[in-house]
């Protein structure tokens, strides 16, 4: 009890932030849980009632086209392909930028650029670039590489690939910045000692660089996975709301469509809770497995 008295000033300062948290996190979350058990939709938006786990049953059994499992699989592919390339590209570029090279500042600025442009602009620009006849990607493919043009936005697989390519371009700067920060915090003596021992570039990477950037990269990767899993903008805008034929949806864009296009609030809330638990279970097990919260040194 005495400790509580000692922390009285902490309470004072925490109270407003706590209130904001209640307002913007706890209350909407609990409200979402409540409506996920309700029949709230277009016809019952003011007079909704609790109907039990009906919406959850629908999430898993409704014959939507495509159904939950297909979209879930696509979401997993979307997330892992994106995060894989974000990390690989990000770390690779960070390693390059960590060398003593001329004009480092300019390269760094240029590489961070994708991050600085509003996502809406990025998505619509890439959508234009993927156009069959006038898009720059097909022009490069056909005119300079003499390859056949790809129908990027018309075929489901290519359209999904187009979304992934856009998001990879958009996402690697974050990982690069994080990795660069981590690299700069590695004591130089470790590399000097390794040099004395005659370690090769690969050995230094494997035994010094990767283990020492891991504590920073794992939380960043976890965040990256959660963000990418829940990244609505790029999929929605590049594929123009799931085109062609609702084949480029990931779970969040599907929720968005159910809630705001078809006014199925109860169903969308239930699907959101399912997404929440998928991410919660994943994050907890990933953090535990990778021992991300343990100290590096």
């Amino acid at each position: 009890m005495n400790r509580l008295y000692k922390n009285i000033f902490i309470f004072t300062f925490v109270a407003p932030a706590f209130l904001v948290l209640i307002g913007v996190v706890f209350y909407p979350f609990i409200y979402n849980v409540v409506i996920s058990f309700s029949n709230m939709n277009l016809r019952h938006i003011q007079d909704w009632q609790m109907v039990g786990p009906v919406q959850y049953v629908k999430v898993f059994t409704e014959p939507t086209e495509p159904n939950f499992y297909v979209i879930f699989l696509k979401t997993i592919i979307w997330t892992f392909v994106n995060v894989f390339f974000h990390v690989v590209l990000g770390v690779f570029l960070a390693l390059l930028l960590n060398q003593k090279i001329k004009g480092k500042g300019i390269y760094r600025t240029l590489l961070i650029l994708p991050w600085a442009i509003p996502q809406y602009i990025v998505a619509l620009t890439w959508r234009g670039m993927f156009n069959y006849e006038y898009g720059s990607i097909n022009i490069v493919l056909t005119r300079y590489l003499h390859l056949p043009a790809v129908e990027w936005l018309k075929n489901p697989t290519e359209a999904f690939l187009a979304c992934i390519l856009t998001n990879i371009w958009l996402g690697f700067p974050f990982m690069m910045v994080v990795a660069l920060g981590a690299l700069q915090s590695i004591p130089h003596e470790l590399y000097e000692a390794a040099d004395i021992d005659g370690a090769s570039w690969y050995h230094k990477l494997k035994n010094i660089t990767i283990p020492l950037i891991k504590p920073v990269m794992i939380p960043a990767i976890t965040l990256g996975i959660v963000w990418t899993f829940n990244s609505l903008n790029i999929v929605w805008l590049v594929s123009n709301g799931g085109e062609p034929s609702d084949n480029t949806h990931i779970l969040v864009s599907f929720v968005y469509k159910a809630a705001f296009n078809l006014y199925r609030y109860g169903y969308a809330a239930a699907l959101s809770i399912v997404i929440f638990f998928i991410l919660l279970i994943f994050s907890l097990s990933f953090m535990k497995k990778t021992k991300a919260t343990e100290a590096a040194y």
């Binding site: 706590f18 939709n41 938006i45 003011q46 086209e65 006849e133 034929s245 296009n261």
Partner: protein, 419 residues
Amino acid sequence: MKKNIIHRVSPIVYFGSMLLLSIMVFLSCSRSVDINRVVIWHQMRVDERVILEAQLKKYMELHPGIHIEAIYKETEELRSGFIIAAIAGQGPDLVYGPSDQIGPFQVMNIIKPMESLFTKDWLDSFNPKGITWYKGHLYQIADKLGNHLTLVYNKKLLQKPPETDIELIETGKRLTVDSNGDGKFEQYGLVWNYTEPFFFIPFMTGFGGWVMDEEGNPTLDNPGVVDGLNFIKDLRDKYKIIPKEADYNIADALFKDGKAAMIINGDWSWAGYKKAGIEIGIAPLLKIIKTGLWCAPMVSPKGFSINVNVRKEKEKLVIDVLKFLLAPENQLETAKQLNTMPTWKALYDDPFIKNDEILMNSQIQIDRGKPMPVVPELRAIWDAMRPSYQAVLGGVKTPEQAAKDMQVLAKRKIAEMNE
């Protein structure tokens, strides 16, 4: 001494009182209802917005102390945002948009019936197509009529627009040009956005189809849909007068760059084409020789509705603002600048409206068009049409299968919406 006082208060009570204090601070920051402030949410494009802002400025100059705020939101964002805000008892006083938003807003009970707020004489001054009644009540008064598709053509490339499907194919072939012989067309006869089913409606109606019956049940599995889809496929694959792939932005850019002789687009786009330096002509959409029917686009008014949460004490001001924005002189000003069709009947005798070539042809198209249904089911129908329509253009489905699938999906989506 100080320490003693703090010790006497339980930490929980202290924490609670701090929370309460914070709540009071937050609440005091919130905006109280200001009866001299009117908020309008709209989805007007830039050139429309400029005119609206100027008109609002004029109103505020005439009425010192009144503040009107016009906030732009993209159509979908406006719709979902307004639903959320109005259900929570908030939101703008006036909401502006096409008439198809009336259906869901009425079902959710978030807009006010307006028939008792205005005199019969004043309401009678409007073209009946411009005032939207739904389930026995008036829910929207429009300042613009149309929102309709027409055939827009580049006068530099084409002097006489085609009137029938046969003429379209002939003209299209002549105007689709591969000037450097690389197998790619540098100029197309016709373009439009063929990812959105809204742009398919004229073809569907030209072949005798329609989206729903009187009761709001979908009627998509009909020969009109199949023939309409076949016709578009032929334009692309057989006659090769339209690009392989085009969404709104691509079609728009091709026309603005002079790389397309004709475009099917709505009245909202005309001012932009003029600004881009294209000398445009407007022609009604084609007649399909096989059926003898004109391609009929959906026609809908665009106008204002009143939020159900507008309180009695503010109603008078909101009505006054609405009347000002709908006044004939303001509608005429908009029509002159944007070539949109006003809703105030007396304006149809104005020399500008009577003699302007664009407006004359626009009027013909409006008369031939079909009113856009305002029922919420239309949303499910769009959503059911889109995948199959795109699948046909992607070569994955036959038009017959697409029509069947559209119907099944529309029925299911309507059932889901209404469950």
